[in-house]
């Protein structure tokens, strides 16, 4: 029992690290792309620097990346993991494909959050002589913040799901535990433990995300 507890605990830690790091990296990659998509989008949707050609190309790339099944993306990106981390197996190696898989999702989530900002408010900011950078940093992002928080919550939950899938091809974490012990060694208790912990994690993240977003809205 002691060893099971230890194994489950280790796997949980791995999952947390994986999800945490890949959330950070996918935000670093996806956030600027989301902002770019929004500002270069059409004027009716609040684009402040409309650029249809750029938008079309960017949007297409994001769509292609999003439609890749995650498992295949992971296999395709194995050489990249090997190049950066030195290995294509294990927790750290999984962070790379996780981040890249989540980045286009993040970009879309950010874009749609920014789209919700009242175009009239953006027009007012423009009329007052804001630079585009000031509009993004001082108007768009703060105005969209509650919605952005919900978007990040959604991303984290998605990444918890992806990280479990990554276990199937040697990614480590709870998914890996469930497959190797629960499935391959016929130990249902491991399977149950992994699934329960994942459910608890998802619930917890959703709860915290809702609270933060709700708090931001209540202050308005």
């Amino acid at each position: 029992m002691n060893t099971m507890f230890q194994l489950v605990w280790e796997a949980t830690q791995q999952t947390i690290v994986m999800v945490f790091l890949s959330t950070i990296f996918s935000l670093i990659l996806g956030f600027p792309i989301g902002v770019l998509l929004h500002v270069t989008g059409s004027e009716e949707h609040g684009g402040i620097l409309p650029h249809p050609a750029f938008y079309a190309v960017m949007s297409r790339i994001v769509n292609i990346l999003r439609s890749f099944p995650f498992l295949i993306l992971m296999i395709v990106l194995m050489p990249l993991s090997r190049l950066i981390i030195g290995t294509s197996i294990g927790t750290m190696a999984t962070v790379i494909p996780l981040s890249i898989a989540a980045a286009p999702f993040v970009a879309r989530v950010i874009e749609s959050s920014l789209k919700e900002v009242d175009p009239g408010v953006v027009q007012a900011a423009k009329a007052m002589g804001s630079t585009n950078w000031q509009i993004i940093v001082k108007v768009l992002i703060p105005e969209a913040l509650p919605s952005l928080v919900s978007g990040v919550t959604l991303t984290i939950i998605n990444l918890i799901g992806y990280s479990a899938m990554a276990g199937a091809i040697g990614g480590g974490g709870l998914g890996d535990l469930a497959i190797r012990y629960g499935y391959q060694r016929f130990r249902p208790s491991y399977m149950v433990a992994a699934v329960v912990i994942i459910i608890v994690m998802v619930e917890l993240i959703q709860f915290i995300g809702d609270r933060i977003s709700g708090h931001l809205i209540s202050r308005r």
Partner: protein
């Protein structure tokens, strides 16, 4: 600051939103631009306020041409004007005082100055002590007050009001208009007020331009326009006002072929009776009342004149001789 527009044109696809507008908006006045929806008002205000570039024509603030500025100069010039909107357009993520601080923040003014100025502005618009209030807790009128304070933060010489009272109830509208007039005098502002409400023009403006289908169809001092409206659009605006305004009472829904307007002292003379005695005409009065326009009383009467066309024509002639403006309304009111 004086604003001059020279032959402004702006098209959207095949639509001439603004079609050759030339105007001189004198310094230190409240200048109304009125038009129905779709007349090109919104486009015109976007052109005058440098939010959009015209396809043709020029915009001058004082002697400076502003419609063709490069981006950096454009941003600097925009920081010298104030603008308020129909939907207030306040930042939901900021409270009242942070909203007012925004235009100063983007000009990188120092924090102490911003704080001091914000307090002054809150007092100016009558919202002392409400600085920390989240925007959502303010009423429509209070929101517009915050927006006015925000617009005045950088001490502009020009204030654009884009349908600024259209979302407010009549009482709040009057209060906001009074505030704008008061501030205009205090700061010697040039206020450009875009509206579709004739009562806004009547209550707040010194001069007015009437916009229809992208063109200016009438322009002048407000009381003159009210007394002798020339274009059908203007007449329509004024008559719409007559039926809704409290002091004009209508007691019959149908009829009323003629609209008579009396100016100033004429409202005290028994003109109708004397015309009746002189010509034998009979008046069937459908609505009547007095409106005050910019300190001048203008009497309005909507009436039918009988008993026949010939006598009616004589009566109209007699009325016009007395200085009454007589208009024939096509299908009643």
């Amino acid at each position: 600051m004086q604003i001059t527009l020279k032959n402004l044109k702006r098209n959207y696809a095949s639509l001439h939103a603004v079609d050759g507008v030339s105007l001189d908006i004198p310094s230190n006045t409240v200048y109304g631009i009125i038009g129905r929806s779709g007349a090109g008002k919104s486009t015109l205000v976007r052109l005058i306020s440098m939010l959009e570039k015209p396809d043709q024509g020029e915009v001058y603030y004082g002697d400076k041409r502003v419609d063709n500025l490069p981006k950096d100069e454009l941003i600097q010039e925009r920081r010298k004007i104030g603008m308020i909107f129909q939907n207030f357009n306040l930042f939901a993520s900021r409270n009242a005082e942070e909203n007012i601080a925004y235009p100063m923040e983007i000009c990188h003014m120092d924090k102490e100055h911003i704080k001091k100025r914000t307090e002054e502005l809150l007092a100016l618009v009558g919202l002392e002590g409400r600085g920390k209030a989240p925007v959502s807790t303010l009423s429509g009128g209070q929101k517009q007050r915050v927006a006015i304070a925000r617009a005045l933060a950088v001490e502009p010489q020009i204030l654009f009001c884009d349908e600024a009272t259209s979302a407010l109830d009549p009482q709040t509208t009057r209060a906001i208009l009074a505030l704008i007039k008061e501030i205009q005098k205090k700061m010697n502002l040039t206020v450009v007020m875009i509206t579709h409400q004739m009562e806004v023009v009547r209550d707040a403006c010194d001069r007015v331009a009437v916009l229809d289908a992208g063109k200016i169809v009438e322009e002048g001092i407000v009381s003159d326009i009210f007394e002798r409206p020339q274009s059908p659009v203007t007449k329509e605006f004024i008559s719409a006002l007559t039926t809704v305004h409290d002091s004009v009472v209508r007691w019959s829904e149908d009829g009323g072929h003629y609209t008579l307007r009396f100016r100033g002292t004429k409202t005290g003379d028994p003109i109708i009776s004397s015309v009746t005695l002189k010509t034998g005409a009979v008046f069937n009065i459908r609505a009547a009342g007095v409106q005050e326009v910019d300190g001048t009383e203008i009497g309005v009467m909507i009436t039918d004149i009988g008993p026949d066309k010939q006598i009616a024509a004589e009566a109209i002639k007699a009325l016009r001789n007395e200085g009454v403006v007589v208009e024939e309304t096509e299908e009643g009111f």
